[in-house]
């Protein structure tokens, strides 16, 4: 039984009919104008079903399919399958409260409001009329206390159920009611079948997947194997030019008589993934078709990374030590003023990322996001200091993937070791202190999402191993069950307290490093107490 949309030109329809004229069991039903989500679709199915039941008294099950449906298994298998379940109605049918698939925010209301305007053609009037009804609290009564159900419009019903629906004495009332329900083709039969059916199997025999906008996914030639293995009876929608699919499935005369149940699991997964990609995307990826506005990134970067501030100033061999202790990729100062100091002195990094400072500073955020994206699977660590480009500070602070460890005031150590004139040192110290204190303010702000640890330098050198162990444990389990086997070498700080005092004497007040006594002992004590007789 074929229903052809009334909007098809008469010429096309005639040619189509003539082409099928030689097939005795093909009939054409009364034509209705069918538009998406309108009553025409229901009345078309009604007329076709009526003619079908009248003209073919032997028919037990009626299967509703569309022109873009494709049988995936030999029809005889479907016949056998249905013959074994003579009283089962296959129709997806659920109450509005139980299904999440409604698009457009209308679920229960599609049964209690009126929808005289087309959603596709008159969206404005549609929306306004809905708003109007909501504003006045207009509600329709649902006739005879039926419970509205919804589901896929592709059903397969038994003669008993279908004829009961079509010949119901109350049908005129139901028809009048559903005529103004939104998307009646997904609720008319679904609701009424519940009234009469003895045995509803609430699923559709037609494989049909919808994307996040409520549009059906389409199958192409390259889905051939996937469709074959799904063991579904009918699938939709098939792209009209997917000739390979039509050739493969419509000429399949092999009566394999498989008794398997449909199993669309794999197809489900593929389409679910597609919807997820469209709605959530890949975290930390910025590209031509994914460029989220702030706060919608769902993660600024794609993986965790660590930022160390002050460590490479305080320890002489911090970077190689960290690399050995954690097995991660350890860079120098990525945001240094001259160039991005990639690990091992490389000038180009993963993804062909250049070390040019100008390119990096042109868009520091893109630089960092690219680096983390390009090195997925390998944790990145890098050094940072107040002497580096500070434009990236907010981005890192707001990134939950960042682990930031700061020894405040440690920038003074290189100055202390340097061979510059003291007035230059003083000026530089004042500048760096100001920058770092601004940075610390950011790190302590309520917007910060990174894991931040801040020690003053004085605090840190009292017991350096404990914080180091904590940081490294957090980075990941590598070989740290035994504790750190090797200790980074701390710079010689003899005289550092005096150096700070000298700065103070010059009127600059270094406070970020904490309280250092002028004659500072603990570090020296540590070095002198090394046991010289211990051979390995």
């Amino acid at each position: 039984m074929i229903h052809a949309d009334l909007s098809i030109p008469a010429k096309t329809y005639k040619a189509f009919r003539e082409a099928l004229a030689d097939l005795p069991d093909v009939r054409f039903s009364k034509r209705h104008r069918c538009e998406w989500g309108t009553w025409g679709l229901v009345s078309a199915s009604q007329s076709a079903a009526q003619t079908m039941l009248d003209d073919f008294p032997d028919v037990r099950h009626v299967y509703l399919a569309s022109g873009s449906c494709l049988p995936l298994r030999p029809v005889t298998e479907l016949i056998d399958y249905l013959a074994q379940r003579p009283h089962t109605d296959f129709i997806e049918s659920a109450t509005t409260a139980d299904v999440p698939w409604t698009v457009g925010g209308l679920d229960e209301e599609r049964f209690t409001l009126r929808f005289p305007f087309s959603w596709r053609k008159n969206r404005f009037l549609f929306d306004k009329y809905v708003a109007l009804q909501r504003a006045f609290g207009l509600k329709r009564r649902i006739p005879n206390g039926i419970v509205p159900h919804m589901g896929s419009q592709w059903w397969c019903l038994t003669r008993q159920t279908l004829s009961a629906i079509l010949t119901d004495p109350e049908r005129a009332i139901y028809d009048a009611y559903f005529r103004q329900v939104w998307i009646p083709d997904e609720s008319y039969f679904q609701t009424l079948a519940r009234q009469y059916s003895r045995n509803i199997e609430s699923r559709s025999l037609t494989l049909s997947k919808f994307d996040y906008q409520g549009k059906p996914h389409i199958f192409y030639d390259d889905h051939l194997q996937l469709l074959r293995r799904s063991d579904c009876f009918v699938a939709r929608k098939i792209w009209p030019h997917a000739h390979k699919l039509y050739d493969a499935f419509l000429t399949d005369s092999a009566h394999a008589m498989k008794k398997t149940e449909p199993n669309p699991g794999k197809i489900d997964r593929i389409f679910t993934k597609a919807v997820e990609r469209r709605t959530r995307g890949r975290t930390g990826l910025y590209m031509q078709s994914r460029f989220p506005v702030e706060t919608r990134e769902n993660g600024l970067t794609s993986a965790q990374y660590s930022v160390f501030q002050g460590f490479s100033a305080l320890f002489e061999n911090f970077e190689p030590w960290l690399a050995r202790a954690t097995g991660t990729r350890v860079h120098g100062h990525l945001f240094a003023p001259e160039r991005a100091e990639f690990s091992d002195g490389q000038t180009v990094m993963n993804g062909a990322l250049s070390d040019s400072a100008a390119l990096r500073d042109y868009n520091p955020r893109a630089f960092l996001a690219s680096l983390i994206w390009n090195t997925r699977g390998e944790r990145q660590c890098f050094q940072f200091s107040p002497a580096d480009n500070q434009k990236i500070n907010w981005d890192i602070a707001k990134d939950p993937n960042a682990q930031i460890s700061v020894i405040s005031g440690a920038w003074a150590v290189p100055l202390f070791k340097s061979n510059q004139n003291f007035c230059d040192i003083r000026r530089e110290a004042a500048r760096l202190q100001q920058i770092e204190s601004k940075h610390l303010e950011i790190l302590r702000s309520s917007w910060t999402k990174a894991r931040v640890r801040i020690w003053t330098m004085a605090e840190f050198i009292e017991a350096p191993m404990e914080p180091l162990q904590t940081i490294i444990d957090e980075i990941g389990p590598m070989q740290n069950t035994r504790g750190l086997s090797e200790v980074p070498k701390m710079a010689d700080l003899t005289g550092f307290g005096q150096f700070l005092q000298n700065l103070k004497n010059q009127g600059m007040h270094p406070y970020l490093m904490g309280n250092f006594p002028v004659a500072h002992e603990p570090h020296e004590a540590q070095t002198t107490s090394r046991k010289p007789y211990l051979v390995r």
Binding site: Y220, F271, K273, R278, G281, Q288, S289, A352, S356, N363
Partner: protein, 336 residues
């Protein structure tokens, strides 16, 4: 967007259409086969000059993809491109000896032809050295993509320009007529792109890749734009504003998602860096007909003498579209 801004954009668009009208007097049809264009056909628009050597592969590539008709403007070629194209059954050809620069790098000519012939058609606008790649392009013709875009109410489709280059010197392997240029220029930069949003036109401004890395490491702002929107369901009101980087009305530039998801997108493989490039660069330097007073070509000529190689240790060798999708250079979006 404020009313007066919309209004200004409207005038901007009218102005582009006006320019197209003015410049069309310089176009003379050589072979007009546009009567053969059927409703629903996918059309390709292209401006070129002296690209004879690339044309056989170019036409084959897009014919295989399912492009139905080519509308080409020949800007005074002297290498036989015109004759070659005139003989092709699915090409309509126009000739002009006008200035490429003064027609805004071909945009005016193509805007005119698109207004005349592309209304209601999916329209691909590419250069002869650009090869369009979209998700599933190895198994689905372009018609599958445009049908899907139609079904999703999408009018335009973005494809970033991906600069391809050979390993070694550019002139080491000569390109032969009819050859797939990607066989030679098979490498690209996988992850050094920078994106900013253009607030005025709503498009993304993408820079980076080998040209930024090698030619503009000290002046990134001058690095060429890589964002392109080559595939559009054309309407006679539409106009390209600057090359195929952006269009008006502005809605057409929203080929990306701003809410965290990924829209579907493709890539234009840019096979510019072949052995033909060095001679072309010198010639174009002389003509001064390219964008920003041929600044790009100048940088190439200067730099290529110093660093004749674009390839680096982290360059990636092109395999297929799936590789680009995994690297995050393009996306399937919700097409599956």
């Amino acid at each position: 967007m404020k009313f007066w801004q919309s209004y200004r954009m409207r005038w901007r668009r009218k102005w582009a259409k006006m320019r197209a009208w003015r410049k069309h007097f310089g176009l003379s049809p050589v072979v007009d086969r546009t009567a053969a264009i059927k409703p629903g056909d996918v059309l390709l628009f292209c401006t070129l000059r002296d690209e004879h050597i690339r044309l056989p592969y170019f036409l084959k590539y897009y014919r295989d993809m399912g492009v139905d008709h080519f509308l080409i403007v020949d800007n005074d070629s002297t290498d036989g491109s015109g004759d070659y194209l005139a003989d092709q059954p699915d090409v309509s050809l126009w000739h002009t000896s006008g200035s490429y620069k003064r027609s805004r790098f071909g945009v005016d000519w193509l805007n005119w032809l698109q207004g005349q012939y592309a209304h209601g058609h999916w329209t691909l606008t590419v250069d002869p050295d650009e090869l369009f790649v979209y998700p599933f392009c190895d198994t689905r013709p372009i018609r599958a993509l445009t049908d899907w875009l139609d079904g999703s109410n999408v009018r335009s489709f973005g494809a970033m320009l991906l600069d391809m280059y050979p390993k070694g010197r550019l002139d080491a392997v000569p390109y032969r007529r009819g050859q797939d240029p990607i066989e030679i220029a098979s490498w690209f930069d996988p992850g050094n792109y920078m994106i900013e949003k253009n607030r005025k036109f709503g498009n993304l401004w993408i820079q980076g890749g080998p040209r930024a890395r090698v030619f503009f490491p000290d002046a990134p702002k001058k690095a060429p734009a890589l964002n392109k929107i080559p595939l559009v369901k054309w309407n006679r009101r539409y106009a390209y504003v600057s090359s195929t980087h952006m269009l008006l009305p502005r809605g057409l530039n929203l080929v990306y998602d701003e809410w965290g998801g990924e829209a579907a997108s493709g890539v234009l493989l840019h096979a510019k860096f072949l052995d033909t490039f060095t001679t072309k660069a010198e010639e174009e330097m002389g003509r001064q007909q390219h964008y920003r007073a041929s600044l790009e070509y100048k940088a190439y000529v200067e730099n290529l003498e110093k660093t004749p190689e674009l390839w680096c240790k982290w360059s990636e060798k092109y395999i297929n579209w799936l590789q680009l999708e995994i690297l995050g250079l393009m996306s399937k979006g919700n097409w599956a």
